[in-house]
Symmetry: D3
Subunit: 136 residues, 6 copies
């Protein structure tokens, strides 16, 4: 039901097959989800996205679970059904508890509500929030 | 430039004045930002939003800084200029370092990119991501 | 297929069971729709949303049908499949005729079109539309 | 600051000049707002949008004020700054009272909040909401 | 599953039947897709949309394939599942090759990523991008 | 007014300075726009985005102008003020004529209108549009 075939293993180009094996190894599971089997139709693009994702989601100043929570929040706001499901699953795998999930949902709902209020009333930004008055 | 006046202190109803004083006390600052001075035109609604915000953003399974990061992410995805500025400022006040901010931005950009890919290709959700097959 | 179970009656906490009975009584029907059975996983949040909804959607300066029309319009613009369906059904129950529905759809489509035009051409707001030139 | 010039009267093509005079006559004011002066760069498109707008916003099963409230709601959800301001002004001209405006804002905020909840939890639509099970 | 019936041929009003026959003739196929069978519940609106679509998508300074690519891009950004599918199919019919489709997807993803970056960091527009400093 | 400083040349890290010089060389102009001066606060991210942009926007099966038109369309749909302005300017530089621009705007408006109609009526996708019935 995607706009491109969900490629099975025997349909993959050698580059795509190599990428899917890498995904299996990193995730320690044989299952490779639809997103990668669809974007595998474009192996170079799939490689770029995977590499960027590994870099962005690696532990840093923010831990991987916090990053997944942020990912779910953006996906919900953009109403990406696929990404909401896949990253909610990822967040659970990285240790999101039911209580954390409850609070994540609450913050998403709260923010969406005040976003709507600020946009509907077109509240002008306070000068004190503007970090940089400079520029050319 | 809002659709309602940005009320000055002497223009507030007694309920609104009381709320703004409460905001000052909780935040330990005399400054009350535009959002509250605009929504103060509707004192009962302002009270409801403030109380809900205090509950939702309180420490719980997620700490207040993590909640602010999620708030910024939703506000950026919804492109609420006011909320992006006000909650980026709040996140800084709650300890967001420049490195954390860099990573927050990266995750928002990454998620927006893969949201667009999944939506453009209409990737169907994998069965294994579906938490609940039940229902009536 | 939600990210949380669609709770059946025997799976509800006592708080959630009480809320669902209240929903049945207010709506005068035994059927409780999925939204409440999913959010019932978080009984306190479900209670808050229900109470807020009852207050917001009550007759006031705007009648309940007009409020439902506005609800459908926001839900369509945010592309919330669930909310479009549930609030279109609610609007019909509150008396939305086929002709009203036709006009509702027309206004949503018209607004979406001119929103896109104004955003694509970045038309600056006329001074005369700005209600409040004040501020601090 | 638009991507196209905000045309002054002496810069208008004859078709555009005629349209702006028609707008003045219908609205009973000399002032023509930026949207029309920008889209006037494309006179045929401007004419099409104006005619469609006159038809869609005319009194029908829904009165013009209700239509303006819906227009504001869609524009807020799409975060079209221009349209929020211009249609909030139109709604006031058509009789929107401060109390009606308060309730409009409340419904927009409420809907945005439950839209976010339904999207974040991916609540599946109840069968009973589906108006038409047919199709080919 | 639409909010209105997907009308079968024998359920059409005479105006709607005439429109569907016109669609068949223009497209040189007997199949008429769901969008038209749903909006056919409102024959006058269906006629308006069809006529506007024929005008807008006709060859001009941009060729019909380029117009379809733009249509898919907007539909993906708005996450309209129906329109993504129907206009991706139209683009293929008008000659979109797999390589073109790959690049279309890449640009959509790239733009969504930088849109998110610019919105998250609220980058102010450079003066040199502003086409028109005029206005009244 | 960004959430990060708009860096002047003397404030750049050596990596960022090198990137900005590369941008100047590729574009054959001394002027470097705000987006790059803001994201230059995160030199590694800036480098990644720039390199990805050069790859994605290079001539391929789609020419650079067509890619810019698609970029503007996505940016308008996402209502990214910055990107609408900067990519409309880029499109003009790559040869977009006033007539092409008019048609671009028309397609964006048309698509936004039918997106809203399909979402508001929740039209189900026709089987014949579904490219791939496979999957695991």
């Amino acid at each position: 039901m995607a706009t491109l075939p969900i490629l099975q293993d025997h349909e993959l180009s050698s580059e795509a097959a190599q990428l899917l094996n890498e995904i299996r190894a990193v995730r320690n599971t044989d299952y490779v989800n639809h997103f990668w089997r669809v974007i595998a139709n474009h192996p170079a693009q799939a490689r770029l996205i995977w590499d960027q994702l590994q870099t962005v989601m690696a532990p840093g100043a923010l831990d991987p679970l916090t990053k997944e929570l942020i990912y779910v929040a953006v996906s919900a706001a953009n109403n990406c059904e696929y990404c909401v499901h896949s990253h909610t699953a990822s967040a659970k795998q990285r240790g999101m508890t039911p209580e954390m999930y409850k609070e994540l949902i609450e913050v998403i709902a709260m923010a969406s509500q005040t976003n709507a209020l600020a946009n509907a009333m077109q509240v002008p930004v306070d000068d004190c929030f503007l970090a940089d008055q400079g520029g050319d």
